[in-house]
């Protein structure tokens, strides 16, 4: 884990691609420009963070920019972790895909697309992964209705049949 000073030094090395740093409970986070995420991750790989542990989405409703994508990097030699975040607005939710450099991101980016509707430019096969392909909407967004339906128990069945006829 880079300490607070290490995080600032790292952000300085990243230059103007790094927008913000957060150091909270020994967890180092750097927020970067969505258009330069590939460049930043390649840079960090050169610094030892060569394992992409997770890619996941966040909905920051009602804040803007609303949607976020979080990349968890691990340095396996120094046993070091770094969180890289990007934030994109709802009307243009576009992030460059990192799948060409990090093949593990393939299905995880598809999941973020499926659940949050973030479009990953340059992804080789961007389609839904969990929901049916003809599904409408992105169910993990916080303004998406939870859904579900009333359950018909045996004691209600006669009413249900009347309603059907």
């Amino acid at each position: 884990m880079p300490d607070a000073t290490g995080l600032e030094l790292l952000a300085k090395d990243l230059g103007d691609a790094a927008l913000r740093t957060v150091y909270f409970r020994e967890q180092a986070t750097v927020e970067v420009d969505p258009g330069r995420i590939r460049e930043v991750l390649s840079d960090l790989r050169g610094r030892g963070f060569n394992f992409l542990a997770s890619v996941h989405g966040v909905d920051h409703y009602p804040e803007e920019p609303r949607l976020g994508v979080v990349y968890e990097l691990i340095d396996m030699r120094k046993v070091d972790r770094l969180t890289v975040k990007v934030r994109v607005p709802l009307d243009t939710p576009e992030v460059d895909s990192v799948t060409p450099e990090w093949p593990t991101a393939d299905h995880q980016e598809r999941e973020v697309y499926d659940m949050f509707g973030v479009v990953f430019n340059g992804h080789p096969d961007l389609r839904r992964i969990l929901m049916p392909e003809d599904y409408e909407g992105h169910p993990q967004r916080r303004d998406f209705p939870v859904g579900g339906e009333p359950v018909i128990f045996t004691r209600d069945e006669s009413k249900w049949l009347e309603h059907r006829e």
Partner: protein
């Protein structure tokens, strides 16, 4: 045997001789003779029984029933479940086949890997909208007559996952028995299967075709 030892000599005595004078002649026919139609007088002679002997012979060996009942009895005691699990309920389903519950006692232990060899599908777990057409297809591939058990809260009423992702099993296929629980214990599944057995045995007209007015729509070769 040494005297004073703990072991005791046990003498076995014959309990009356086979073919004695008091028994009827029927008793004396052995399996070989019955099979070949032989008699006690000679192995290849037909057995000559009449009167009281013949009546007892028939009463002891023949049971009358209807063909439908016999078929229902056979079916209900040898379900071939499909080896199919969806979620955590599947763990309990495996345990029903394990040594503690042991559904082999009732003749249901032959889990089939292909729906074309199975006649019972146990939906053990939650059914997502994406999985529903696949399950429907498996069910359609099963041979008639076929039955379905909905195991657990999720696929009966969607349970704690009553949201955008799930669909109750009754919406896309006929279910014969619902087993409640989250997940149900193997005993509960056992109880459900035995309920289904009673249904098939005692009320064969309660199959899904009868319930859904689908008699006559069977596929014919």
């Amino acid at each position: 045997m040494a005297t004073g030892g703990t072991r005791v000599e046990v003498k076995r005595e014959r309990l009356g001789t086979v073919g004695g004078t008091d028994g009827l002649r029927v008793k004396n026919l052995n399996a070989h003779q019955l099979l070949r139609g032989g008699d006690i007088e000679g192995p290849n002679q037909p057995a000559h029984l009449d009167g009281e002997e013949l009546t007892r012979y028939v009463e002891e060996r023949v049971l009358t029933t209807t063909l439908d009942s016999a078929v229902a009895w056979a079916r209900s005691n040898s379900f071939f479940p499909l080896a199919f699990g969806l979620a955590c309920c599947a763990m309990e389903q495996f345990q029903a086949a394990g040594p503690r519950m042991d559904i082999a006692r009732f003749g249901f232990e032959a889990f089939r890997a292909s729906p074309r060899q199975a006649d019972l599908i146990i939906l053990a777990g939650r059914v997502s909208i994406k999985m529903a057409p696949i399950i429907r297809r498996l069910y359609d591939q099963m041979l008639e007559p076929k039955w379905a058990i909905s195991m657990g809260a999720c696929c009966s009423s969607m349970g704690v996952f009553n949201n955008y992702a799930l669909v109750p099993a009754d919406k896309f296929m006929p279910i014969d028995v619902h087993v409640p629980g989250c997940p149900p214990r193997p005993e509960a599944l056992m109880h459900g299967i035995l309920k289904l057995r009673d249904l098939v045995q005692n009320d064969p007209e309660a199959g899904w075709r009868e319930r859904y007015d689908a008699v006559g729509t069977e596929e014919r070769p």
